[in-house]
């Protein structure tokens, strides 16, 4: 099956006081139509910047996309002019964000904001667009959509607002939906509802979902393939089942909380699905010379601190950027 | 010491802030040593009236309707303007900081009462109030300083109150309360030093607006009758505006330069003291 979206060597930088700092480096991946690909990592790993680079919605300056290709059905989005790129946003690729409380314009009715998205991409009259907006609100299960459409965002709960965001994202009938931490700001029960909604809409609309999250529980629920990012680079790529059963990269192990060596104290003996790794992600302008994860890695050895491991295929179509897994792969 | 160096390095980065500083130092220099360098008393009639600037090298900025030296007037006026600006600001800071600190620290009824009073002062048209007060209390250097500070303290009080309200919730203040430090010490030694930055920034803006207010008052004839101020000069020049507009124009330019310099310095201070906002 051919890819609908293919990213090759994407590199994004931000200008800082001492020149440009690379925040996303040489990221490559491919998405199949109608499938769900997840990018996981801690905050500061570059996953959100990657997502926003695809749609080119980062503020430029200070950001700039320094290298790479983003091929949508073979067409490189990074080569498009602003005008052509606008027709991609919301029509080919839509995006929803982490903060439903602040992602809607407070002085515009939700209907106004959806209608605007519809009419930007489809030739509809004002009345038709409004009817379509009501239909979309229905599809995202907003009760009493016909009345709700004239409400301002502050009248809605966080979960309802995220539904509005999703309805708005669907307005242009996109082929791909980028969901950047779509449930992080929501209550647990609401999280489950939103995820279920996304899964159902995906099959109804047949769109691909690129899910950005730090929560492996969310990944397990709806993704088929997973990319693990650390300090701006992909460190592992695997089908979701393989990743959970047999993580290759020590960072992935840490994310899964599955490495017994990391849980020597009794209370942490249970299988957590939490991020529980000592230390924090290094600042992009303070990366160590070798593997960026080496300072936090329980398995690191001398070579890890001097040389950076490349992302290389291991087995079963998986990839990993760790000398350990590459060695075992080579010897096996 | 290095905090000062850091501050200076941040301040220096902005060209406009440096321009403001140079202008301000120039005006201050003129105010301090200028009156000794220009020979004439600004009120003395020294030359024929209506002498245009450049006509006579001895009086490079010309003379006014009575033949008084305009350069001398501007130089002496700089002293008046800066003095009134600084004194009024200092007084306004004294009142405003006290009121704001008490209201923000004790909250409750002192806060309610003091804030009602500040709101009242902010409802009354400021300049109009200044005009009425100076007119009733007779114009003099002292009354002008007091009146300008009377109309500018509410802004300080509101600022300091807001800072105090947020600072007093911080851990370091709470721990001072717990160890039983006296309230005066907490207010003056713990909290006040932490809200110095916005107060300093506001001060330069206050001096600028005090100078503008003073010039307006003296233009209306409500200046100290014994002092040659820039506003007074513009008022005098106004009589001959149709033929000799330079008489009003020159002191006005002096006001613009001084106020501009203070505003630029204020902005520079703001950027240098609040590094988190510098990218705005």
């Amino acid at each position: 099956m051919s890819s609908i979206l293919e990213v090759r060597g994407l590199t994004t930088q931000f200008s800082g006081p001492k020149g440009y700092v690379t925040v996303v480096e040489n990221v490559s991946f491919a998405m199949k139509p109608g499938a769900t690909l997840a990018i996981v990592g801690e905050s500061g790993s570059g996953k959100s910047v990657t997502a926003m680079s695809l749609l080119r919605v980062l503020p430029e300056p200070p950001a700039r996309i320094a290298a790479g290709k983003v091929l949508l059905s073979g067409k490189d989005l990074l080569q498009l002019g602003e005008q052509a790129m606008r027709r991609v946003r919301g029509r080919d690729i839509s995006m929803i964000f982490q903060e439903p409380m602040t992602s809607l314009n407070p002085v515009m009715t939700i209907g106004g904001q959806i209608v605007e998205a519809i009419r930007e991409h489809r030739e509809l009259s004002a009345d038709e667009a409004r009817a379509e907006a009501v239909a979309l609100l229905d599809r995202v299960r907003i009760p009493d959509a016909g009345h709700r459409i004239d409400d301002y965002p502050h009248r809605l709960s966080g979960g309802m607002r995220q539904r509005v965001m999703i309805a708005m994202a669907l307005a242009g009938r996109p082929k791909i939906l980028i969901a950047d931490e779509p449930t992080t700001a929501l209550d647990v029960t609401v999280q489950a509802q939103i995820l279920a909604l996304l899964a159902r809409l995906q099959s109804e609309f047949g769109m691909g979902i690129l899910l950005i999250t730090h929560n492996l529980g969310v990944v397990a629920q709806i993704a088929q393939r997973v990319l693990v990012m650390y300090a701006g680079r992909i460190v592992e790529e695997a089908p979701v089942r393989d990743l959970f059963q047999d993580p290759l990269h020590p960072y992935t192990e840490g994310l899964l909380g599955a490495t017994p060596r990391m849980y020597q104290d009794a209370e942490a003996g249970a299988r957590h699905r939490l991020i529980d790794i000592a230390g924090i992600v290094p600042q992009p302008d303070q990366l160590p010379p070798g593997c960026a994860f080496a300072p936090r890695c329980p398995k690191a050895f001398a070579r890890c601190r001097e040389e950076r491991p490349a992302l290389l295929p291991t087995r079963d179509g998986r990839q990993s950027a760790c000398f350990l897994t590459q060695n075992t792969a080579a010897s096996a | 010491m290095s905090a000062w160096r850091d501050f200076w390095l941040r301040y220096r980065r902005k060209t406009s802030a440096m321009i403001g500083l140079v202008l301000l130092l120039f005006v201050m220099l003129v105010a301090i040593i200028g009156p000794w360098l220009v020979s004439a008393d600004p009120w003395d009639i020294v030359v024929r009236p209506f002498l245009w600037p450049g006509e006579d090298p001895e009086f490079p900025l010309g003379s006014d309707v009575l033949g008084r030296d305009i350069l001398s007037g501007i130089v002496h006026g700089s002293r008046v303007s800066l003095l009134i600006g600084l004194a009024a600001t200092a007084t306004a800071l004294g009142v405003g900081v006290t009121v704001g600190a008490v209201a923000g620290y004790f909250r409750g009824w002192p806060d309610d009462i003091l804030m009602r009073i500040t709101e009242l002062f902010q409802t009354i048209p400021t300049f109009l109030l200044a005009v009425v007060l100076v007119a009733i209390f007779k114009p003099s250097m002292l009354s002008i300083i007091l009146v300008i500070s009377a109309v500018s303290w509410p802004a300080v009080a509101r600022l300091v109150r807001a800072e105090f309200l947020s600072l007093r919730e911080r851990e370091f203040v709470q721990s001072c309360v717990v160890i039983g430090m006296s309230e005066t010490r907490i207010i003056f030694q713990q909290i006040l030093p932490n809200c110095l930055a916005p107060i300093i920034v506001m001060s330069s803006i206050l001096v600028a607006s005090a100078i503008l207010t003073e010039s307006g008052l003296s233009f209306l004839g409500l200046g100290d009758p014994n002092l040659m101020s820039w506003g007074t000069m513009i008022g005098i020049g106004r009589e001959a505006m149709r033929t000799a507009w330079y008489m009003s124009a020159l002191p006005g330019i002096a006001i613009i330069i001084t106020v501009l310099a203070l505003n630029l310095v204020g902005e520079g201070l703001n950027d240098a003291l609040n590094p988190r906002l510098k990218n705005r």
Partner: protein, 334 residues
């Protein structure tokens, strides 16, 4: 159902207005007390203060003042007498103008309102446009140029600007009138007369607008830039909207809110500026009246103008609050 909610909404607004008007009334009463205190703090007998040195000799005037202030009474009685008079809009008598102060103020109010409204519209519109222009070109030469312009307007005394405008546009170029509100002795039809007033209005309104144009420009620029960084602007970009639509439909309506707050605050400072501008341009309004009162030492009139000026500010704040509530759906008028 719809009608019921609308009715409830109207009720809420009425309640809001009633409550705010009561607050405003209290504020004005407090300002009247403050006026009373000012008069009594001044050096010398209150009668000297009110009558000034000029009209002080006239026994009839002094009698009138003495009666209206009840100066032989204890101070608290005087205060109540004064407040009672104020409530009845009795602000005393202006001997110099041979007219009750309140009536005198009312005859001059329309000219000042015209000047103030004109310069408010001018400064708001110009500041809005310049601010939007600047924010959309942030950190370019054009942006810097606007910043320099705003800083200069900030630093320029408006009466000086008025004088220079008269020199240039009236004396040198002979383009616009620089004195008064209409051409004296002309007998014009209503259209020509309106045009005549408009021509007289240009220079004073511009002079008065200058400072606040700078205020609005800087405020609007900062506000636009702040809104540009907010999440919902990223949403708008992700929807594929054009830069223009984002700027005008999403950024501007949000960025304008602090500007509206400023409108209410501007009124007080405009009244002060009106004293200077009306003096420079001989504009027959409250400001000019205040200047004449200074010259004539008619302090009773000055205090009346101050009180009425404060009332204008209070009313303006009320209108601003309503306007804000209308523009920002998050404010539920309650």
């Amino acid at each position: 159902m719809q009608g019921a909610t609308q009715g409830a909404g109207r009720n809420r607004i009425v309640r809001f207005l009633v409550r705010r008007s009561a607050q405003a009334g209290l504020t004005l009463l407090a300002i009247a007390v403050l006026n009373f205190v000012i008069v009594h703090l001044a050096p010398g007998d209150a009668i000297d203060v009110l009558a000034g040195e000029f009209g002080g000799a006239d026994a009839q005037y002094l009698d009138k003042l003495r009666r209206s202030y009840g100066l032989d009474q204890p101070i608290y009685v005087q205060l109540f007498q004064y407040l009672f008079n104020v409530v009845q809009l009795n602000l005393g008598f202006s001997f110099r103008n041979n007219m009750p102060v309140f009536d005198l103020i009312m005859t001059r109010l329309p000219a000042t309102l015209l000047l103030m409204v004109a310069s408010m519209l001018l400064s708001f519109t110009a500041g809005l446009l310049l601010g939007v222009f600047s924010a959309r070109r942030v950190n370019t030469f054009a942006d810097d140029a606007v910043s320099v312009l705003a800083l200069l307007c900030y630093a320029t005394p408006l009466f000086w600007f008025g004088l220079m405008a008269i020199v240039l546009f009236t004396v040198k170029l002979n383009l616009l009138p620089g004195n008064g509100m209409y051409t004296i002795g002309s007998n014009l039809g209503w259209f020509a007369a309106t045009l005549d007033v408009a021509r007289h209005l240009v220079l004073p309104a511009c002079s008065l607008a200058l400072f606040h144009m700078a205020v609005y420009t800087r405020l609007m620029r900062a506000s636009m830039l702040e809104v540009y960084g907010l999440d919902y602007i990223r949403t708008a970009r992700a929807k594929g909207l054009s830069q223009r639509r984002i700027a005008f439909r999403h950024v501007l309506p949000n960025a304008i809110l602090p500007m509206v707050t400023m409108l209410g605050l501007q009124v007080g400072s405009l009244l002060g500026g009106a004293v200077l501008v009306e003096t420079v341009f001989g504009w027959p309004g409250l400001g000019r009246l205040a200047f004449d009162a200074i010259l004539q030492r008619d302090h009773n009139l000055l205090i009346g103008i101050l009180l009425l000026g404060s009332a204008l500010v209070v009313i303006a704040n009320l209108i601003t609050d309503l306007l804000y509530a209308w523009l920002d759906p998050r404010i539920e008028v309650a």
